[in-house]
Subunit: 354 residues, 2 copies
Amino acid sequence: MQLQRLATIEDVAGIAGVSIATVSRAIHEPAKVADATRRRVNDAIARTGYTTNAMARSLRMRRSNMILILAPDVGDPNFSNILVGLETEASKRGYGVLIGNTQNDATRETDYLRFISSSQATGLILLTGHLPFGLEQSSPLTRLPPMVAVNEPVPGDRVPFVGVDNFEGARIAAEHLISQGHRRVAFIGHSTSRMVAELRERGYRAALSDAGIAIDPMLILDGDGTTESGRQAAEHMFVRDVLPTAFLCVNDATALGVMIALNARGYDLPRQFSVMGFDDISYASFVTPSLTTMKQPRSKIGEEAMNLLLAVVEGRPVEQKQVLLRSELILRNSVARLGADDGDPSASRYRRSG
Amino acid sequence: MQLQRLATIEDVAGIAGVSIATVSRAIHEPAKVADATRRRVNDAIARTGYTTNAMARSLRMRRSNMILILAPDVGDPNFSNILVGLETEASKRGYGVLIGNTQNDATRETDYLRFISSSQATGLILLTGHLPFGLEQSSPLTRLPPMVAVNEPVPGDRVPFVGVDNFEGARIAAEHLISQGHRRVAFIGHSTSRMVAELRERGYRAALSDAGIAIDPMLILDGDGTTESGRQAAEHMFVRDVLPTAFLCVNDATALGVMIALNARGYDLPRQFSVMGFDDISYASFVTPSLTTMKQPRSKIGEEAMNLLLAVVEGRPVEQKQVLLRSELILRNSVARLGADDGDPSASRYRRSG
DNA sequence: TTTGTCGATGTAAAGGTTTTCATTGACTAT
DNA sequence: ATAGTCAATGAAAACCTTTACATCGACAAA
């Protein structure tokens, strides 16, 4: 069940009439071999269809060209675009990406570390927000394998981080709502996710404070980042009957839930309530009304992260241990100026946007 | 820039007081080594934290435990769930998955084949619908590496296939529309994708024929599978003024476009037009009205495909060269009985469904 | 001529496994 | 007692590279 035996460096050397050392050099350090010889070697390589055996190479060099990506949920639509960036950059530099779906399961995480410890993979991209189990208890002294955290930072300062500036993004979002005349702005948060949600909430608070608006604790609710929790949070507000004029949600999924709740109660959006999300997930533009949100440069995040990791892997000097990218305000139709009533709202619903 | 030297099999052998051969056997064929010895070896392994070096192992065995997945667009939301299935099954069997984003670029495809030819990867999952460039011109005689096509079959019968039964799925979809009283059912197809769209169109035709409904060529339009093309196709129908009562779309993205067009024209869905998609992409349930569609068992597809591939890779006998899974009819709110008018449609819009 | 330098190449070790084949010793059947 | 079988183990080859070190020859300087 295997292909015909592949040509080895020895076959090439035989045909070219040189030693295997020369072949290896002709490939990796062409300058060190005479022109004529190099030509003979190249011919031989072409004739045999030789490819260097990566296993042998990695074994000898004690380093593979493979990067392991650990993500809690590979099916998450947020993940796939980051993956594109990671893959693109890795491939460009001759590395392959190995993906590990951990489902936040400690066993699976430990399990995947074998790729690192067996030197099958050289570096690690973490989308988990924590050190993988099995490294977690390692003393602060132990040397960690090269790794970079993406999206969610790893507590402590041992792991370089690439992600979006959540504080700034949320502040911009909240400022946008305020600029549209809203002063009673609710925030639907995400208690289970540590850092990200917290930073976004802080951004929200900062914007309000800067605008001289007092924070109303009744307008701050926690969800768990899902659409359903967004729906519930909105319902909760109606039950308590403390209402905002705009909802800023910790992410688009939550915002979607809020919109569903508002729609179900028969409100006309965005005329009666404005809603903002964060992330710009793929269907943010397809819901009705289409969702105004902060766009994460996902592909870019992936590229930057892989860049940083490869620098560490290859021992190049790395300038900064933390890269914060800016998120972009995407204006769609779920936010309206407070009190404004622009004639025929239904006609504007499907107006296209970036 | 590397971890402290890892324990080798020799270290273990030394501590356990046996030869390296015995250690290897204790690990892979425990039955072949005496109980007492095995215990000593296991202790030594535990003490040293030994992990077998995958590079050395693969080199010796001439076979790695890595599967290469070639996909034209890793960012495609359809892909991510298949990936989950592929990864889960692979990981369960001790294999790793390597992902390659080809963007339908011949160079990138060829490039990725180096993982196969350098024996860094043992098998190939193709989501491309064709043999990767570089194998494409290989004569029918050349032995191909172990591979399985997913979602879209590879022309010819050289590559085993795992996917959904598109013909049957589309037939069920069309039958559903017919069962709701629709007799003028449009089909918005997808000319650029060969097999998949064609099979779905055939299923549509079969259902109509079986119901004794003549096929009206004016009701069959081609798109390119995108939301925008769905919108255009629907517009096109209004321009020609040959209207169906229901739209069956080759996929959900197209269906979404159709719904956008109909909404923009001010029609009330599903009262005035019914729309069906195919795939059940993640936001099918979030649009208004939520989309009735055929659900692809994506994760299951991934698992089956990986299963089949690993069988081939490991030389186990493989029963069938083609696995067709059934898609499932998901009833939501974009289809209504023809002529029916059920009181308060807005209230039912957000009724949950499977 | 002698010595030294330098560029081009070859030899051989090392990297860590798995596996074939040989060896050993215990035990069984004759 | 002898031959034969069998289970447990070890020695060494093979997998395919990269690279430190050695060699060789040409040429320059003395």
